[in-house]
C-alpha cells in the first residue's frame, strides 16, 4: 500500500513519449549518449533519431542503436526545429515529445522525473531537466533559462557553479533547453513547434515564451538530470555559423513576442543598444562581433514583413498578458551588471597586463588571491589566503588611519578640494576662460582627464576617487607592487613583505598626509608601468604599447617630473638593447603627446618640473629625510625605519649571485636620488620669474627607497647561506620598516594637514560672496607672496591656472605699489582687474598699516584671528573688467581632439577580445 502511495499516478497508466534525438556529426559523443538511454528506468514508448546530414559515422551509430527504421535523415539546411518536425512526421503521435541532443548523456531517472513533474498539473506543457556539464558532471549549466531585456540568454548561474543541490526545487521558468526538453504533443501542435526562423539560437526561449503566452507553464524538474557536452558552444563540433545569428535571434525573439507599447519601446531600445554594442565591439577590437551586430540589425529591422508574420502567428496562440508571467524574465538591472562585468574585465586586463586576452563576460576572473596560495582545508582562510588576508588587514588599517578624514572631500594646503559637481571638471576642460583668480586662458590640467574619468562612476561624490587614492594609497600600492613582484621573485613571503613595504613607502614619504596626489598616483601606478614595460620588452604587441603609453601619460599628467625619470630609464635600457626598446620609444612619445599642452608647459620650464597636481607649496627636505625616502614636511614616517631600509639596500650589494638585479635597482635608486638633488638645486616656481620655493622631492625620495627595498628583495634569498643567526637578525631588521611604519601610521592617522573640511582660503563671507580676492602674505624684510582666488579658492585642477603674463605683471606691479604706498589710482587698476578684496592672513603689520591708510579700501571683518580684510570701494565703471584672458575659439575643439586621442589610445590599449560562440 505504501509503495502505491509513493508511486506517481502516471506509472499506472504511463503516457506515451517519443524520444527525438537530433544528431549532426556527433560520433564522438553518440556511443555514450545512446548507451545512457539504455539505462533509463522508464523508457520512452517510441524512438526516432534525425541525422542532419552528418559527415561522420553518426548515422551508422544511430542505425545500429535504434534500427534503421527509427532514423530519418534531414538535409543540412535544416535547423533544430525543422529536424524535430521531420522526425515527428516519421512516428506515430504520442502524448509527449522528449528532445535529446547527440552530445547529452541522460541520468537513469531523467525521463521518469520529467514525467513526474509534467503530470503534476494539467497546465504544464513543457518540462526541462537540470543540465550539468559533461565531462565534469559537477558543474551546472542550466536549471531553466530566461532572457534579459537586452537580449542576453540568462541562466542565473555563476560560471562554473558546482551543483550542490542549491537549485533543486521544481519551479516555473520561462524556458528550458532543448536538450532534454519534454513537450506536450498537443501544445506542440497548437504552437506549431519551434520557429523555423530560429534554427539554432533562442528557439528554446522563443518556444517557452509562446508557451507562457498561450497559457501553459514551463517547469524545471531538477531531479531529472542530463549531462551536456555543449559541443557546439565549446567549438568542439564545427559548424558554419555567422556572428550575427545569435544576436539576430535574440532581437527576433524579443520583438516577435513582445506586445503592446512594450514592443515599440523594445524596438527603439534594442536598436540603440545594438548600435552601442557595435561600437563597444569596435573598441574591444572584435570586428567579427561588430559585424555580427550590424548584420543582426539588418536581418531584423531590415525585414519588417518577416517580423509581421512572426508576430501575427504568435498573436493567434496568445492568451495571456505578459505581466501575468513577467516574473519569469530576468531582472531589469541584470544587463547592466553584465555590461559592467565586460568593462571591469577590460580594465582589469589593462591593470594586469599578464592577462592579455579576454573572452568576454565572466571570463576567467583573477582576484587578489595569490595563485601560489596553497589551499589547505581545515585552516582559517586568512592562513590559506595569506596575501588576501594581508591586503584585507592593510585595507582595514588604512580605514582606521583615515578616521579623521572619512568624508570623501579631502583638501589640504597642497590639495584643493574637488568641485561640488563632477560636471565642473568636465566643463572646465572646454572653457576658454577659467574664472580663477585674475582669469586664465591656460590649458586645463592634464590630470583632470584621467581623474574626471575615474570619478565619473561616482558622479554624486566627485572627490571619492581622490579619497580612495589617498586613503588606500598603501593597499593599492601594495597590490600593484605584488602583482609586479611576481615577475621579479618566486619567493612568496619575501614578495609579500616587499609589496607591503612598498605601500608603506608611499605613506611614509609624507605624500598622503600632505595630500600630494601626484606623488601618490605615480607611486601607485609605477609598479604597473614597470610591469607593462617589462612585458612589452618580451611581448611587443600594440595593445601593450598603448597600455604603456597610457600609464606614461597618466604619470606625466599627475607629476611631470616622472616622465623625465621614465625617459632616463628608457634611454639607459636602450643603450643596453636598442632593438628591444623600440616599442618603448613609441609608447613614450605617445604618452608624452597624450599628456598634453599642460604637461608640456610644465616640462618646458625646469622650475616647474617638480610642480605636481595640487597647489605649489614649499617642501624643504633635509638630506637625511631624503635618504629615508621622505619628502619633508608634515606626516612623514619614522626616519630611522627608512634609514634601516637604506642600510639594508647597501648590504644587498654583498651577495654575488644577485649582483645584476641589485645593481639595476641601485641604478634606478641613483637616478631617483639625482632627480632629488636636481630638484633641490633648481627649486620650483609657478612662473619663470616667480619666487623659487623648495621643491617637493618626495616622489624621487620614495622611488629611491623603493628601489633599495627591491634590491633587498632580490638579495634576501641569499642570506640563508650566511647561517641561521645572521638570517634571523637580518629578517628582524628587514621587518623594522613595515612594522614601525605601520604602528606610526595607524596611531597617527593621515589627517592634519589633510582634512575633510573645505577651508576657504579667504574668510567665509568673501567665499560666499564669490569675491575675487588678492591674498597677500609675507613681510617687507623677507618678501611676500600674492595670489588671487575667486570664491573659496580653486578646486582641484584649477590651482595651476595662471593669468596671462601681461596681466600678471600688471597686477604684481600694482600690488607692489599698493603695499609700498597705496593710491586710489592703483586701487582703480585692481578693480579693473576684477579684484574685489584684499586679504592678509598673516601679513606684516607694516603692510597692514599701509593698506589701512588707503583711500578706497574699506577695512572689513575677518573670521580668521590675526588676519585683515579690505574691500575695494570701486565704482561699476572701475570694476568693468575688459582685459579678460580668453583662449582662441579653437580651444574647445582642440580639447575635444585631445580627449579623442586619450580615448583612441585607451581603445588601442584594451586587450584583443576573443569572441566565444554561444550555441544552444
Amino acid at each position: 500500500m505504501e509503495e502505491a502511495v509513493d508511486e506517481p499516478a502516471w506509472r499506472g497508466n504511463p503516457p506515451s513519449v517519443v524520444a527525438v534525438i537530433v544528431s549532426r556529426n556527433g560520433e564522438r559523443w553518440l556511443p555514450q549518449a545512446l548507451a545512457s538511454l539504455g539505462t533509463l528506468d522508464h523508457l520512452p514508448s517510441r524512438w526516432v533519431a534525425v541525422d542532419v546530414s552528418s559527415t561522420d559515422n553518426s548515422a551508422v551509430l544511430l542505425n545500429e542503436a535504434l534500427g534503421q527504421e527509427h532514423v530519418v535523415t534531414a538535409p543540412v539546411t535544416h535547423g533544430f526545429g525543422q529536424s524535430v518536425r521531420q522526425a515527428l512526421e516519421a512516428v506515430d503521435r504520442t502524448d509527449w515529445i522528449w528532445l535529446l541532443h547527440d552530445d547529452a548523456v541522460v541520468d537513469p531517472r531523467a525521463l521518469s522525473a520529467l514525467l513526474d513533474e509534467a503530470t503534476s498539473s494539467a497546465d504544464i506543457a513543457v518540462v526541462g531537466p537540470k543540465i550539468r556539464e559533461w565531462p565534469s558532471l559537477r558543474r551546472l549549466l542550466e536549471v531553466g533559462v530566461t532572457i534579459t531585456s537586452t537580449g542576453s540568454r540568462e541562466t542565473g548561474l555563476e560560471t562554473g557553479e558546482p551543483d550542490a543541490g542549491q537549485h533543486d526545487w521544481a519551479r516555473d521558468v520561462l524556458a528550458v533547453s532543448t536538450a532534454g526538453m519534454l513537450i506536450r504533443r498537443d501544445v506542440w501542435d497548437e504552437l506549431g513547434g519551434f520557429d523555423d526562423e530560429l534554427p539554432f539560437f533562442f528557439d528554446d526561449i522563443d518556444f517557452g515564451w509562446r508557451v507562457a503566452r498561450a497559457g501553459y507553464r514551463t517547469r524545471i524538474a531538477p531531479t531529472a538530470v542530463i549531462f551536456h557536452a555543449e559541443a557546439s558552444r565549446r567549438r568542439v563540433r564545427a559548424r558554419d555559423s555567422s556572428a550575427s545569428e545569435q544576436r539576430g535571434a535574440a532581437l527576433y525573439t524579443i520583438l516577435a513576442n513582445e506586445s503592446g507599447p512594450r514592443f515599440w519601446w523594445q524596438s527603439v531600445r534594442l536598436l540603440f543598444g545594438s548600435v552601442l554594442r557595435l561600437l563597444a565591439y569596435l573598441i574591444l577590437k572584435d570586428p567579427r562581433s561588430a559585424r555580427g551586430q550590424a548584420a543582426a540589425l539588418q536581418s531584423v529591422y531590415g525585414s519588417p514583413r518577416r517580423m509581421l508574420r512572426a508576430r501575427r502567428r504568435r498573436r493567434k496562440t496568445a492568451k495571456r498578458k505578459r505581466r501575468s508571467f513577467a516574473s519569469l524574465f530576468a531582472p531589469s538591472w541584470l544587463p547592466y551588471v553584465h555590461e559592467f562585468d565586460v568593462l571591469a574585465e577590460s580594465l582589469r586586463a589593462m591593470v594586469r597586463p599578464e592577462s592579455v586576452q579576454t573572452i568576454g563576460r565572466r571570463s576567467a576572473s583573477e582576484s587578489i588571491l595569490d595563485e601560489d596560495d596553497v589551499i589547505v582545508e581545515d585552516v582559517p582562510w586568512w592562513q590559506r589566503r595569506r596575501w588576501a588576508g594581508t591586503i584585507l588587514a592593510f585595507t582595514v588599517l588604512s580605514y582606521i588611519a583615515a578616521r579623521g578624514v572619512l568624508s570623501p572631500r579631502l583638501s589640504s594646503l597642497v590639495l584643493p578640494p574637488a568641485p561640488a559637481r563632477l560636471g565642473d571638471w568636465w566643463s572646465g576642460l572646454f572653457e576658454r576662460t577659467h574664472d580663477v583668480g585674475l582669469g586664465s586662458a591656460d590649458w586645463p590640467a592634464s590630470y583632470l582627464i584621467p581623474l574626471a574619468t575615474a570619478s565619473t562612476p561616482t558622479w554624486f561624490a566627485p572627490g571619492f576617487a581622490t579619497w580612495v587614492l589617498l586613503v588606500f594609497a598603501g593597499p593599492l600600492g601594495a597590490l600593484t607592487a605584488h602583482r609586479t613582484g611576481r615577475l621579479l621573485t618566486d619567493h612568496r613571503r619575501i614578495r609579500m613583505v616587499w609589496a607591503v613595504s612598498y605601500g608603506l613607502i608611499i605613506i611614509a614619504s609624507g605624500a598622503v598626509v600632505q595630500g600630494r596626489l601626484g606623488t601618490v598616483v605615480v607611486l601607485i601606478i609605477a609598479p604597473i608601468l614597470l610591469n607593462v614595460a617589462l612585458r612589452l620588452a618580451v611581448e611587443p604587441t600594440w595593445p601593450m604599447t598603448f597600455q604603456l603609453a597610457i600609464w606614461i601619460a597618466i604619470a606625466a599628467s599627475f607629476a611631470p617630473i616622472s616622465i623625465l625619470l621614465i625617459a632616463v630609464g628608457f634611454l639607459a635600457a636602450a643603450v643596453v638593447n636598442l632593438k628591444m626598446m623600440a616599442r618603448h620609444g613609441i609608447s613614450f612619445l605617445l604618452g608624452a603627446a597624450l599628456a598634453g599642452p599642460w604637461t608640456w608647459g610644465r616640462l618646458s620650464e625646469p622650475s616647474s618640473w617638480w610642480w605636481e597636481a595640487g597647489r605649489l607649496v614649499a617642501a624643504p627636505a633635509r638630506a637625511i629625510e631624503v635618504v629615508a625616502g621622505q619628502g619633508g614636511g608634515p606626516g612623514t614616517g619614522p626616519l630611522a625605519a627608512g634609514l634601516v631600509v637604506t642600510a639594508l639596500g647597501v648590504l644587498a650589494l654583498i651577495p654575488a649571485h644577485t649582483r645584476v638585479p641589485v645593481s639595476i635597482c641601485w641604478a634606478v635608486a641613483i637616478g631617483a636620488m639625482a632627480s632629488v638633488a636636481l630638484g633641490t638645486v633648481i627649486g620650483v616656481s609657478a612662473t619663470t620669474e616667480g619666487q623659487r620655493l623648495d621643491a617637493w622631492v618626495g616622489l624621487g625620495a620614495a622611488v629611491w627607497l623603493a628601489s633599495l627595498s627591491t634590491a633587498v628583495m632580490f638579495a634576501a634569498p641569499e642570506i640563508v647561506s650566511y647561517g641561521r643567526p645572521i638570517t634571523v637578525i637580518l629578517i628582524a631588521v628587514a621587518l623594522v620598516f613595515p612594522v614601525a611604519t605601520t604602528v606610526w601610521w595607524t596611531l597617527r592617522g593621515i589627517d592634519d594637514p589633510l582634512t575633510t573640511e573645505v577651508v576657504p582660503e579667504v574668510p567665509s563671507y568673501l567665499a560666499d560672496l564669490n569675491y575675487t580676492t588678492a591674498i597677500v602674505t609675507g613681510n617687507i624684510d623677507d618678501g611676500g607672496q600674492v595670489r588671487v582666488v575667486t570664491g573659496q579658492g580653486p578646486n582641484l585642477g584649477q590651482e595651476s591656472m595662471m593669468p596671462p603674463a601681461a596681466l600678471s605683471n600688471e597686477f604684481l606691479a600694482t600690488m607692489q605699489r599698493l603695499v609700498a604706498q597705496p593710491t586710489t589710482e592703483d586701487l582703480s587698476i585692481l578693480a579693473g582687474l576684477g579684484i574685489d578684496a584684499i586679504y592678509a592672513p598673516d601679513a606684516d603689520v607694516e603692510i597692514q598699516r599701509r593698506l589701512d591708510s588707503a583711500s578706497g579700501l574699506s577695512v572689513s571683518g575677518s573670521d580668521v584671528p590675526g588676519s585683515r580684510v579690505w574691500i575695494l570701494n570701486a565704482t561699476d565703471e572701475q570694476t568693468n573688467v575688459t582685459n579678460l584672458a580668453q583662449a582662441p575659439a579653437s580651444r574647445p575643439w582642440l580639447v575635444t581632439a585631445w580627449l579623442f586621442a586619450w580615448a583612441a589610445v585607451a581603445i588601442g590599449a584594451v586587450p584583443v577580445r576573443r569572441t566565444e560562440e554561444i550555441e544552444s
Binding site: 619575501i494 654583498i654 627649486g683 619666487q691 597677500v776 617687507i780 611676500g784 607672496q785 595670489r787 607692489q816
Partner: protein, 470 residues
C-alpha cells in the same frame, strides 16, 4: 626578468656559477657595484650642502618710488604754512578743512610756496615721481596760544606716533591734533602714561575721524591734572596725521610748540633738535612692564661723551620720568643719545621764561631731508650715529634754484652744527642729503622765542616687500 628565481636556482639557468676564486673572494672586494653607494653619498652630500632654494633667493625689500604724497597741517592763529619738495612735482592740490576749498597758493608743485596765516587745516596732496613733498607750519602763535615760536613739519600718515612732555595742569595745555588725510573714515587708539603710571583714559580708543575732519583732542579731557604725559597714537584704520600742540600760559611753562612725533620706543634713540637753554628736562617713557635702565650720552662735535648725571637712570615700567639735564652737560653742538635695556622713547624740553621747544627722538635719515629757512635760519645739528658720515647741504630759492651747497663731514659718533643762512643768502629752504647713518634736528631761535623739530626724510621711496605671484 625573474631575477629572484634566477637567484634561487642558479644552476638551472644560464647564470654562471661563480668560480672558486670568486667564491673565495670577500664580498666586500672592490667591485664596480660598490660605486653605487659612493655615487649616492655624493648626491646626498650635494643635497646637504646646497642651500635651500628659498635661502638662495631671499627677497630683499624693494625701494618703490613714491608717486603721491599727502600731508596735513592743522594751523592755528598766527601761523602759516609753507610747502615744498625735493624735486618739482607734477601737480598739487591743497584743500582747507572742513570747507574743502582749494587753496590756489599751494597748488604749484614746482616752487616753494607759502600760504597766508589763517586758523585752518590744510590737506595737501602732491603727485610726482619721487617729488619728496613736505610741508611745514611756522609763525608765532597768538597770545592766548602761548605766543611762542612755531616751526614744525606737517604730519603725513602716521602709523604710530609718540608725544612726550604734554600736560594738563598748571596752565599747561596740550592738544592732540588729528587730521583725516584720506577719503575714508579713520580710527585711532590713544594710550597715555603719566609719572605715576599708565592712564586708563575714557573714550581713548576707537576715536573716529571722519573724512575731511580735523579733530583737536584736549588732553585734559582724557587725563586732567597731569603735568607730564606721554601719548601714543595708534592708527587702526584710515589715513590720519597727528601732531601735538603744546602750549603754556603760566609761570611753569610759557610758550607754544608743535611737537612732531617721536619714534616708537626702542633700546637706542637719538633725541635731536635740542635748544641751547639752561633749563632742559629729559622726559623718558617706558611703556613696557620691566624697569628700564637708561644712560644718556652726547654726540658732540668731537665725538661721543657720557652725559654726566644721565647715567644709570631707572625708569619704572609704565611710567614717564622727567630728569633735569645738568647744566654741565653741553648739548649746544650735539644731540643726545639715550640707550636703554628696555624699549623707551624720549624728548628733551628746553625752555626759557618765554618759550620752549622739544628735541624729539628721531630715526636716521634714509634720504634727503628738507628744512625751511624763511626769515629765520635754523641751527642744524647733525650726528653720525655710527661710523663717520657726511651731509651735503644745498640751499635753494623759492623757484627751486640752487644757491649754494656745502659738504659737511661728521666724525664717528660726533656731530656737526651748521646754520644754512651762513652758506647762502636768500635761501628759502635747504636740502640735506646724508651719506652714512645720520640723524639730526633743526632749532629756530628768535630772541627768547624758540622752536625745534627733528629731521625726517622726505618721502622719496618706500620700502616694500618683494612680492611674487603664486
Amino acid at each position: 626578468m625573474n631575477a629572484g628565481r634566477r637567484a634561487e636556482r642558479p644552476a638551472g639557468r644560464r647564470v654562471a656559477r661563480p668560480s672558486r676564486s670568486a667564491r673565495q673572494r670577500s664580498p666586500f672586494a672592490l667591485s664596480p657595484r660598490w660605486l653605487f653607494p659612493v655615487i649616492a653619498a655624493v648626491l646626498v652630500s650635494a643635497i646637504y650642502f646646497v642651500p635651500s632654494t628659498q635661502e638662495q633667493g631671499d627677497a630683499q625689500p624693494l625701494s618703490v618710488p613714491v608717486q603721491t604724497t599727502t600731508y596735513g597741517c592743522p594751523l592755528i592763529e598766527g601761523t602759516q604754512m609753507v610747502a615744498g619738495q625735493i624735486t618739482a612735482g607734477d601737480s598739487a592740490s591743497a584743500v582747507s578743512l572742513p570747507e574743502g576749498e582749494l587753496i590756489d597758493d599751494l597748488s604749484d608743485a614746482t616752487v616753494w610756496r607759502t600760504t597766508e596765516s589763517a586758523p585752518r587745516a590744510v590737506v595737501l596732496t602732491q603727485d610726482g615721481d619721487q617729488s619728496g613733498a613736505l610741508g611745514f607750519v611756522y609763525g608765532t602763535a597768538a597770545e592766548d596760544a602761548g605766543q611762542g615760536l612755531v616751526y614744525a613739519r606737517c604730519p603725513g600718515i602716521v602709523d604710530e606716533a609718540w608725544f612726550l612732555g604734554l600736560g594738563s595742569a598748571d596752565r599747561h595745555f596740550s592738544h592732540l591734533e588729528l587730521i583725516n588725510l584720506g577719503q575714508d573714515r579713520a580710527v585711532v587708539d590713544l594710550s597715555l602714561w603719566s609719572q605715576s603710571g599708565a592712564i586708563d583714559a575714557v573714550d581713548a580708543t576707537g576715536l573716529v575721524i571722519e573724512p575731511g575732519e580735523r579733530r583737536r583732542v584736549a588732553l585734559q579731557d582724557l587725563a586732567a591734572g597731569e603735568s607730564s604725559l606721554a601719548l601714543q597714537v595708534l592708527r587702526r584704520r584710515g589715513a590720519v596725521g597727528a601732531v601735538a600742540l603744546d602750549l603754556g600760559t603760566g609761570d611753569t611753562l610759557q610758550g607754544t610748540e608743535w611737537q612732531p612725533s617721536s619714534i616708537p620706543p626702542a633700546e637706542r634713540v637719538l633725541v635731536s633738535g635740542i635748544a641751547d637753554f639752561s633749563d632742559r628736562v629729559l622726559m623718558v617713557v617706558n611703556p613696557g612692564t620691566v624697569t628700564a635702565h637708561v644712560t644718556g650720552s652726547v654726540l658732540a662735535a668731537e665725538g661721543t661723551f657720557v652725559a654726566e648725571g644721565l647715567d644709570e637712570l631707572a625708569i619704572e615700567p609704565g611710567t614717564v620720568r622727567e630728569i633735569v639735564v645738568p647744566e654741565s652737560v653741553n648739548i649746544s653742538d650735539g644731540n643726545l643719545m639715550i640707550e636703554s635695556d628696555e624699549p623707551i622713547t624720549a624728548v628733551v624740553r628746553s625752555r626759557n621764561g618765554n618759550d620752549f621747544s622739544y628735541g624729539t627722538a628721531v630715526a636716521p635719515l634714509t634720504g634727503p631731508a628738507l628744512v625751511p629757512i624763511d626769515d629765520l635760519s635754523p641751527r642744524l645739528v647733525l650726528s653720525a650715529i655710527g661710523a663717520e658720515a657726511s651731509v651735503r647741504v644745498e640751499l635753494f630759492d623759492a623757484q627751486m634754484n640752487v644757491l649754494n651747497s656745502q659738504e659737511l663731514p661728521i666724525v664717528e659718533g660726533g656731530s656737526v652744527t651748521v646754520s644754512p643762512g651762513d652758506i647762502a643768502d636768500g635761501a628759502r629752504y635747504a636740502v640735506l642729503t646724508p651719506t652714512g647713518e645720520v640723524a639730526g634736528g633743526a632749532v629756530y631761535q628768535d630772541g627768547d622765542a624758540v622752536a625745534a623739530f627733528g629731521l625726517t626724510s622726505a618721502p622719496i621711496d618706500n620700502l616694500a616687500p618683494q612680492l611674487s605671484l603664486r
